[in-house]
Every structure is written in C-alpha cells, then in structure tokens.
C-alpha cells in the first residue's frame, strides 16, 4: 500500500536536497511517537490481511490473455463508499472492504473493512470476506475481463501483453524499459511513477534484474538474448547475464502481488517479540506459498517473486553496491531496500544478530540520547540509511510532535519481510507487526488458510512461549534456499531444534566461535510443520494442541482444522505449491517446446485455468484440499465427503 498522502511530488533533485531534512525530522517524529506510546498496554488482538489482485483481459476468439489496464476505471467505484463516508465526516466507516491502488495499472489491493478480532469465530469469517471482495471487483469488470489472485502475470513485458495495447518507451518516460510500458504504471496517484522515476535517477540506471532461467531440454545453452532490435544502446547488453531472464523495469517486480498479514500486539514488548519470532518463519512461508515461476514469458529457476521485486526496487548506486569505490555516497550497502530483515529487535534476541548492521550513526545517537533502547534505535537507524524516494511539496514542513509523514516516508519505503509498525498518533490503534513475505494463492480458501495460520502461530508462540530464534545469518541463508525451484519439497532450512525452552543469554564468546551451532539444524518443511516423532513437535501439532483450549464451535473448528490439514499437506509435499503446479502445467502443455518459453497459447490456457480455479468453477486437488474432507464412518473406514460451504 505505502504512503498515499496526496500532493505535488518534488523532482528527484529537490527530493535529494531534502534527504537529511526528512531523516532528521523523521527520527524526531519517531521519538515523539515512541515516548507517547511506549507504555500503551493491553491492546487486544486485532488483525487484517491485504490481498493484491491482477486484472486480466481474455480474448477468447484469438486465445490471448493480457493484463487489463483497468484499475483507473474501477478504483474510483471501489473507493466510492469510503470517500463518501469521509466527506460526511466519518473517518471510520463500517464498510465490508477497503480498496487501494497499487503500482501497476492492472492491479488493485483490497483489505477487510474492519479488522478481525480475537474471537476464533472471527477467523472463520476471513474466507467469506475474501470471497466477497473478489466478487466486488469482478462485478465492476466488463465482459471478458477477470480478477485473478496470481502472484505475477507470466507474460508481463512480452510483446502486446496489455489491454488496451501499449508500447514501451526505452528512450524516455519513467521506466525507460525495453519491455515495460509507462502506460502500465497506475497513473492516478503520483506515488508510483514518482518512486519509479526517482529510483532510476538515484541509482543512475534502469532497474537491473537477472533472474536465473530454468534450462529445459531444448533451451539454448548458453541462453543469450540480443536486445539491439528492441532499441538497446548497450545498457541492456552490459547488464544482462547469460542463462538469466533479464528485466529492466521496476514494474516487473512491483507489478507482482502478495498476501500480507498485519496484527496488533498487546504492547511494545510483545510486538518486538512476535516480530523476531515471525521473521524466522518468513523464508519458510515464502517457500510454501511460492506462486511465481514465470517471468517475461519464460520459466525461471526460482519459484517466487522475491528476487525480482528485490532487484526491481533497488535504488542503490554503483558505489553503494560496491561496484565502485565510495566517493559521493555515504555507505556501502549490502542489500536492496526491498529485501529480508537485517536485525532482531527484542532484547533477548540481540545475541542472534550475527550479521553486520549498517546504521546512520548520527541518527542513532539522537535516539539513544532521547532514551530509546539500543536495539530499537539501531533498527530505526538502519531503516534510515536510505534516502526518501518521494516527497510532496506540501509535506516538507511538519509538526514533529504530531505529524509522522517523514517517519512514514522512510518506514514505508523500506520493504522488508517484516515491518514493525508504531501506532499512528491520536488513534486507538496499538503497536503492530506486519508479515510480508507470502505470495497470493489462486483461491480464497488458500489465502484464508495461510493468513489465519500466521495468526494462529502468533497465539501459539505466546501461549507456549516458543523460541524459534536462530542466528540471523542462517535466516538469510534460508531466504536464498526458499527462492529456489522446488524449495518447498526439496529444500532444507535451518531451524531451531528445541523450540520449547525459552531464550537464555548465551556466553559472549559464542559469537566468535560460531553462534550456538548445536542449537539449530537443517530440516525439511515437512519436519518443521508436521513434526518428527519423539524429536520435534512440529508447528501444526502445536497449533492443534492450542486449539483444544479454545472450545471452538463446530463451524470454526471445522474451518480451522481444514486449514491446518491443507497446510500440513503443502508442507509434506502431498499438495504442490502453486509454482510447482504452474511449472507442470506449462511443461505438459501441447504447445510447450521444452525450451523454457511460455507462449501466448500456453499463457492463455494457464490464465484461464487460474481464473476458473479462483472462481471455484473447477477444482484442482493437486493444489488444495478445499473440496475434500476425509472422515471416518462408523466402521472406521476413511470416507471422502465433499464439503459444501
């Protein structure tokens, strides 16, 4: 979503001039926020999810699927009710859903109108809310267009991939891409084009993405593309790597969709604890939900969007990337501003921060002097090494005691696997944590299952005081594993062996000798989620144990257990990931030539199938257990019953 304040965006040069101003005032705003709200206690559980959707245009006569640049038309209608309520002075209207634009002109983002609560019966309503949102968008689309919850449109960037047609403008405009047209950027809010333009100007080059290509039997080896016919004057040639899918626009990444879950913690301490415990789960959930194995019409060797969106949003200069010696820039920065988290933030986790954390030392000092504890201060000082990427003229001067736009400016343009969210000023909302790595699944059942599962895990962490912490360097290694093709089934991830004994302080010297090597080991997702008899409890059995004391009503019980069963089977590999299913679909398609290419034909059939699965017109038992329930009859025999919602 990001900061959607309205206003007049400044040029990059002007924005750059204000960088220090934004940072200094942003820190002051954070200090004011923290001071005012650090003692807030006893906030109940409230949570919500966000789903991004892609709008697809189907030309059935010619068997073509294209992205529909339709967001400008439907968003005003989707946002109408909210706008009217605001005009009538109702800041918190009671609406079923809320809608926001996203980067691409073919995307929309929806959330529930009100947060879900702490009652388990609320959690069995998530799916219905999601289903209603899908219907809401679909109703506004013309005949032949559909809303899909897919992670990425497979032929983004291919010739003639938009409807209405549009052409890329490599020589000017915002993206300056060989493939991604500016018309595909959402035009009605300045944020997206401004971010894009400024990132390009800041880094001094177009986005640079090299995604490993999946080499099939007849894929040319080495795989090498000639971009001169597209108008490349050498930049693409220099940037592209052999055997990779080269992409050169922010839109390839930010035009992807994800599933995010945000929840309120009872206080600051609990928010920090949950942030830390959940960040360990990010790579695992990314792997389990992976749904983006195709980019620019080619099968990739990754199953998810992460690498693409990380590189797509990378505004680092060559100096910052370490490709040139530091002269004009302040730091050598190891990661893109869109990437996984760089530090744990609660006191007992400090011992697991074994990677070097780059911080703005001056801003760190300001926070420490103001009484903010070291870990939290370092977390914020790390976010603030970045420049603001967009600034509106009206925003420049603010009242730091009451405004938070400068803080939010940098907070919302650090896109990490987790986000730690202080309460907004003057509101009833508390300290919150956002879980950001998951990819959207094709159906509302699956999206609901994953969202609810995350919330259930947080309750289990708090109930049993679980400790999932491992050195952060191992979490980073897990991220690298998670992105790879078939990681959900084949991957092995570092995970803590004993999650039931709480955290204890380690001897200081362990940091040098290999932090707690005996504490963690490599496990499969099946082991982690389903457990190993007599060795490891498994996350799902712990959730099931927890549910016993909730005394659930039958509907909620049925729903939650179905979700757990679904996730259990995903983790064991009995259900495929969406990515794996899409790969199989492509490779077994009659038009596929074993050359990694996803043709128009294949894309059309794939998108049509995804649409029908999403609408629940057809079922795909390899992907989901939505329509099957195994129950034992009175003789103890397993009986398949079709469960109707």
């Amino acid at each position: 979503m990001g900061l959607l304040t309205e206003g007049t965006p400044l040029s990059w040069e002007e924005t750059k001039k204000y960088a220090d101003h934004v940072r200094r005032h942003g820190i002051r705003q954070f200090i004011a926020l923290h001071d005012g709200l650090k003692d807030r206690k006893n906030d109940g559980l409230k949570w919500g999810e966000e789903i991004e959707y892609i709008l697809v245009h189907f030309d059935d006569a010619n068997r073509r699927a294209r992205v529909a640049l339709r967001a400008v038309d439907i968003l005003p209608k989707l946002m109408q009710a909210e706008k009217e309520a605001a005009m009538n002075g109702d800041e918190h209207p009671s609406l079923p859903s809320l809608w926001r634009p996203e980067y691409a002109a073919y995307m929309v983002e929806g959330t529930p109108g009100q947060p879900y609560g702490s009652e388990p019966s609320d959690w069995s309503e998530v799916e219905a809310n999601m289903r209603a949102r899908r219907k809401e968008v679909q109703a506004l689309l013309p005949e032949g267009e559909a809303v899909l919850s897919i992670s990425a449109f497979p032929r983004t960037g291919c010739s003639d991939f938009t409807f209405p047609p549009s052409v890329p403008t490599p020589k000017d405009g915002i993206s300056r891409s060989l493939w991604f047209p500016d018309a595909a950027i959402f035009p009605d809010h300045p944020r997206f084009s401004t971010l894009n333009r400024n990132a390009v100007q800041r880094s001094g080059q177009r986005a640079l993405i090299n995604l490993p290509l999946f080499k099939d039997e007849r894929t040319p080896s080495p795989f090498h593309e000639d971009f001169s016919a597209l108008g490349d004057e050498g930049e693409a040639k220099a940037a592209a790597k052999d055997d990779h899918i080269y992409m050169d626009a922010m839109g390839f990444g930010t035009g992807c969709c994800c599933l995010q879950v945000t929840f309120q913690a009872s206080d600051l301490e609990e928010a920090r604890l949950l942030y830390d415990e959940l960040l360990v789960l990010c790579p695992l959930m990314l792997s389990l939900t992976s749904a983006a194995p195709i980019f620019r019409g080619m099968l990739s060797d990754h199953d998810c969007r992460w690498e693409v969106i990380s590189c797509a949003s990378d505004d680092r200069t060559a100096e910052e990337k370490g490709l040139q010696p530091l002269k004009n820039d302040r730091y050598r920065i190891p990661k893109s501003r869109y990437d996984s988290v760089d530090c744990y933030i609660s006191p007992l986790s400090e011992q697991y921060n074994d990677t070097e954390l780059l911080v703005d030392e001056d801003l760190l000092k300001v926070m420490l002097d103001a009484g903010i504890d070291r870990q939290l201060a370092r977390h914020v000082a790390h976010l603030f090494i970045r420049d603001p990427l967009s600034l509106f003229a009206e925003q420049v001067n603010q009242d730091d005691e009451h405004g938070t736009d400068h803080f939010e400016n940098l907070q919302s343009t650090n896109w990490q696997t987790m986000r730690f969210k202080p309460p907004p000023p003057n509101s009833s909302i508390g300290w919150r944590v956002e879980f950001r790595p998951m990819e959207t699944q094709l159906t509302d059942f699956e999206n609901a299952a994953f969202s609810v599962f995350i919330v259930l895990l947080t309750r289990v962490i708090l109930t049993y005081k679980l400790n999932l912490l491992i050195p952060l360097s191992k979490v980073d290694e897990n991220m690298q594993q998670a992105m790879k093709r078939d990681s959900a089934k084949e991957g092995r991830f570092y995970f803590r062996k004993d999650i039931l004994t709480g955290p204890t302080t380690r001897p200081f010297y362990e940091k040098w000798f290999g932090l707690g090597k005996h504490e963690y080991t490599k496990m499969s997702l099946n082991d982690i989620f389903n457990g190993v008899e007599n060795e490891f409890p498994g996350l799902i059995p712990l959730v099931e144990d927890y549910l016993k004391d909730l005394h659930l009503d039958v509907h909620t019980s049925c729903t939650l257990h179905r979700y757990l069963r679904f996730i259990s089977l995903k983790a064991s590999g009995e259900l495929q990931t969406t990515a794996s299913w899409m790969r199989d679909f492509v490779r077994s398609h009659p038009d596929y030539k074993q050359d990694s290419v996803v043709s128009e034909e294949i894309n059309y059939d794939l998108m049509k199938t995804c649409q029908k699965i999403g609408n629940e017109e057809i079922q795909e038992p390899k992907l989901s257990t939505q329509h099957e329930v195994m129950r034992k009859n009175s003789k103890g025999e397993g009986v398949k019953q079709i469960f109707c919602l």
Binding site: N42, G44, L45, S118, E119, P120, S266, R459, L462, T463, Y464, K465, D498, L500, T501, G502, G531, E533, P537, G538, P541, L542, D545, Y546, K548, D549, L550, H551, L552, D553, V554, S557, C558, H561, R562, V629, R631, K632, Q641, F643
Partner: protein
C-alpha cells in the same frame, strides 16, 4: 493408615518442561502423565498427611494458582469440564467447590458435564445441583458433552437452567446431523468441539498412576476416582491460553 479423600491438582501443564514430554500425546496420555507427575511430586506431603491426619481430605500437587499473575479475572475466560464417575450430587458439589478453591476464583465462565450415561433420569440430581450453582452466579453457563439430539432434548425440556452448550467430538465436526444443528440454532445452544474419549480414566490407568506414585497410604485396590476436572483459562482479548490443568479426587473405601 489410609486417607479418606485426596485432591490432586496438576497445576498449569503448559510450561515447557511438561510440554516437551507431552506434545503429541493423546488426551488420555496427557492426563495420565500429568496426574502421575503431580502425585509423585506430592509424595512426601501425602505420606506426612497419612501419618498426621488420617480420615481427612488432602489437597496436593501444584496448589498455587498463577492465573492472575498478569491478567484480572474479567480478562480471563475459565472453562471447566467435569468427568463425573461417581454420579451423585455430593461428588458434583465436591468437584465444583474444589475447583473453585484450587483456582482461587468465585465463578467459572463455562462448566461442562460429562457423565457415563446420558439418560436424564440417571443424572437429574446432579443437574439440579449444577443449576443451583448457576442460579447463585457461580457458574456463568452450563452444558453437557456428547449428547445426541434425543438425550439433549430431554434434558433441555426438563431443565430449569437450560444447558447452553453441547460438546461434539472433533471427528464429526464437519458432518453434524442437521436436526441437531437446527435445534441448537433455534434454542441458542452452542455446539462446541472436543476430542476427549468417552472414558478419560480407565480403572487400569488409575491403578497404574497410584502404583507408580508408590504411596503406601494409597492402596490401589481400595481407591476410586470420584471425579476428574480439566480446566483451562484463556485471555479473551488476545486469544492466548494462560493455563491448562487437571484436578482429580481419589476416594479411599473404608
């Protein structure tokens, strides 16, 4: 010399030491394991009790309640299930009173009754006793476990304080008979799930627990379990479970 009645409280079994052993244990194994532990750790106390004051009631095990360490009573939802083996008014009263005492509370939010026979005539005295507690405000709501529609209907008709809950087994939660769910809807009865077996404590398990506790004062052949209670406390606004434990009562036959 034998004691007449011993109340054993396992205390909160959600702490990590317990959890490590019992995760993935079925409900019966969890129970037996917890009770055995509780008796073992009270062995010294019990031996002394048998010597000092025979013929009396003793409570042992973890009798400290940590329920209100961080939350107030209003913030917690306390649910109790009584497995009544000795289906008498006296045992029911003992179970409720002892639970209130052990948990150090005056009220319970939900009390569920499980009896060996769901035939109303067999337990109507017990139900009347429960109604007494409900009317006095000690029990916010009362319910039963594993009643079929006919059994529940009979109870519902006869009761002056209506049961507001019927527990159904988890195995069948996706295939509730429509008549039962219609009845529940019409009469504002909640159908809640559980996965307890019908008999939580087999006589062999009781003997087993007592033998392994190795207490001369408790000769297994002369002991019976009158009732067994499972309690749990949940923080309502956060969905976090604070406590889960068992209390059971062993009678010595004279």
């Amino acid at each position: 010399m034998p004691l007449s009645e011993i109340i054993v409280n396992t205390g909160n079994i959600l702490n990590s030491e317990h959890l490590k052993k019992r995760v993935n244990l079925g409900p019966q194994e969890e129970l037996v394991d917890s009770l055995r532990e509780a008796l073992k750790s009270s062995a010294a106390e019990l031996k002394k009790g048998a010597a000092d004051k025979p013929d009396s009631r003793w409570a042992c095990g973890d009798t400290t309640s940590d329920l209100f360490a961080e939350e107030s009573r209003e913030e917690l939802k306390i649910t109790v299930k009584i497995f009544l083996m000795d289906v008498t008014k006296e045992s029911l009263i003992s179970a409720v009173n002892e639970t209130l005492r052990q948990l150090q509370v005056n009220t319970l939010d939900l009390l569920l009754l499980s009896v060996p026979s769901n035939n109303y005539d067999q337990f109507k005295e017990v139900w009347a006793a429960l109604e007494g507690y409900a009317k006095s405000g000690a029990l916010e709501s009362i319910g039963v476990s594993d009643f079929d529609l006919a059994e529940f209907d009979k109870l519902y008709e006869a009761a002056s304080v209506k049961p507001s809950v019927n527990q159904v087994n988890l195995e069948s939660c996706c295939v509730i008979p429509p008549e039962l769910s219609d009845f529940a809807k019409k009469n504002n009865v909640q159908l809640l799930t559980h996965n307890d077996p019908r008999t939580m404590l087999e006589p062999e398990s009781v003997a087993d627990i007592l033998k392994s506790a190795d207490l001369a004062c408790l000769e297994p052949e002369t002991c019976t379990v009158a009732w067994l209670v499972r309690y749990s406390a949940m923080v309502k606004l956060r969905g976090v479970v604070k406590s889960r434990g068992f209390i059971f009562s062993i009678h010595q036959k004279k």
